[in-house]
Amino acid sequence: MNNNNDIITQLVSDDTYKYGFVSDIEHNYAPKGLNEDVIRFISSKKNEPDFMLKWRLEAYSKWLKMREPKWAKLKYPPIEYNDLYYYAEPKDYKVDADNNTISPEIIKTYDKLGISLETNENLPTSQSCIAVDAVLDSVSVATTYKKQLEDVGIIFCPISEAIQKYPELVKKYLGSVVPVTDNFFAALNSAVFSDGSFVYIPKGVRAPMELSTYFRINASATGQFERTLIIADEDSYVSYLEGCTAPIRDENQLHAAVVEIYAHRNAEVKYSTVQNWYPGDKEGRGGIYNFVTKRGLCAGNNSKISWTQVETGSSITWKYPSCILKGNNSTGEFYSVAITNNYQQADTGTKMIHIGENTRSKIISKGISAGKSSNTFRSIVAQNKNAVKSQNFSQCDSLLIGNQCAAHTFPTIKVKNEKSTVEHEATTSKISDDAIFYINQRGIKTEDAMSLIVNGYAKEVLQNLPLEFAVEAKKLLAVSLEGSIG
């Protein structure tokens, strides 16, 4: 019988990962492995002030006493933390440091990824512009529209630059949302993070364009540990985008990032991610191990933080973008589409911690599992004693393609006051042969039929993405499922 189950085994070749190329770039590495000297090496490479080195070394000593978390529904061989490079800097990435000229090979790399590193400081800005901080392996190689943003008081620069130029801001906010010892991977990141983006939006400023970071891994046997810190001062607004890709390799590469968002009174931050790290091949070889801690603090009253993520890549995803709703009337949102195919494993979800009064949170999660993959949604909604009149709405749906994949849902709800409400809805469905047949019968081939169904299913999340991101994400969803049904 010509049904999903048979077709699912006829997986076609997965040469569908468009970003799997390797650029011809040489790197300067830190010595292999992890010890205090490597941390000193990274810190001195970045010309960091002493406080930062001290912070890193403390984090390292704490990390040494911590254990890798095992509660997630993920299976992978032990990670050999001493068998990888913690720092890889593209050689001669700045051809002319004074004029900020970047090497042509790097420009070419980003062109291939569809990212323009043109920095014409005379360009007028508009809502359709996107400022990019381009992080290649361990270094931010370029940041565009810096000057135009500076003109309105926005600081947008590599975090390594912020540490030197704005040490007071860094001291105040770094680790304030994700403490060093929050978890094993956050502690590791705190010790060895090499670059990432820093954003400060001053009081009353609405960012005149979208800001973004594009993370690219190129070097082999190297981990990427980036750190992003976004501070939105009172009455400010910023929409921030994050993209990431890596070459096709048989080895697994570790990526352990930390993103912290701090929102003051009346501030709003919208953070959107399209995570497209190399997912491994159809036999489960290679792919990125993606262990990420993302958290936002709605510190001030009426503040709002919204996470939207489209997770298509990585062989392992461990990621729970969360909101701490401390300010009264603050709002947290989490919109997620997580898609797994072949042997990919994702354990992802969110935490919404209600502390302030009348705080609201919304969770919309759409999991899609195909192939032999495993897709887990995990959440905590906590409404503390003082979080009276707080509200949460959660919806988590799972879509299964074929019968060799798995979907799991682990929602936890903790309500400690009697004046709050929590609503939770969940569904599990399968893409039926009948649905594919129906769409085929209208002249649409199976691949496009799948794409229609999946995009329809994920619509509620996709419509929260900025327009140009949404278009990419829709294509990506279709590509991710290629070969999952014939």
């Binding site: 009948d434 019968q441 209208r442 649409i444 994920a458």
Partner: protein
Amino acid sequence: MNILSIKNLKAEINNTEILHGINLEINSGEVHAIMGPNGSGKSTLASVLAGKPGYKVTEGSVTFCGENLLDMPVDMRAKLGLFLAFQYPIEIPGVSNMNFIKTALNEIRKYHNQEPIDAFDFYELVKAKADLVKIDQKFLERSVNDGFSGGEKKRNEVFQMAMLEPKLAILDETDSGLDIDALRIVSEGVNQLKNANNAYIIITHYQRLLEYIIPDFVHILYKGRIVKSGDKSLALQLEEQGYKDIYND
């Protein structure tokens, strides 16, 4: 011109033969009604022609517009102009009717080396065809069949048919679940769409639909075989005498 030629078609599902040798010739401009009791193989015939997975053709041949239909994937049959109005249309949440039908239309146009339809032309076409089956434009913004009533789903099938203008449309019990007004609307739609270049197969239990859509031929399907063919009077005879007497003829 011959549109469909079925010769000694035998088909099975789960190793059980359902069609035991069907012969049927359909020319352009003709309307054929296929009637028969439950389990006679009516829907199986529709499914086999459309290429539904799970059915296995064991013998015979089907030629559609001069091509070997049975070798073609489902979407190719549709692109060549075969349309099946489903007995139980499928719901596709999150995909608007408009987006769905536009995708289908453009896929079919692409196959015939035509440019994608211009947005304005598409809008005009939708308006005209929606009027034909008397459906509200708002209804077209909704997700495909999602939360539609039984009658709305059937009308949506006829709307899609009107949009795609197939060579051969198979209406699989489109009348079941329709009230008399909806039945009239659906029938009027079909009557306006039929012309000298296309053909229809109307699968139905009841003579009722055939009061509105006048068939040129009526075939009685019984236990996987066409046991009797005639003109529209056969349907009337069937209604009066029931199936039993006809099989015994």
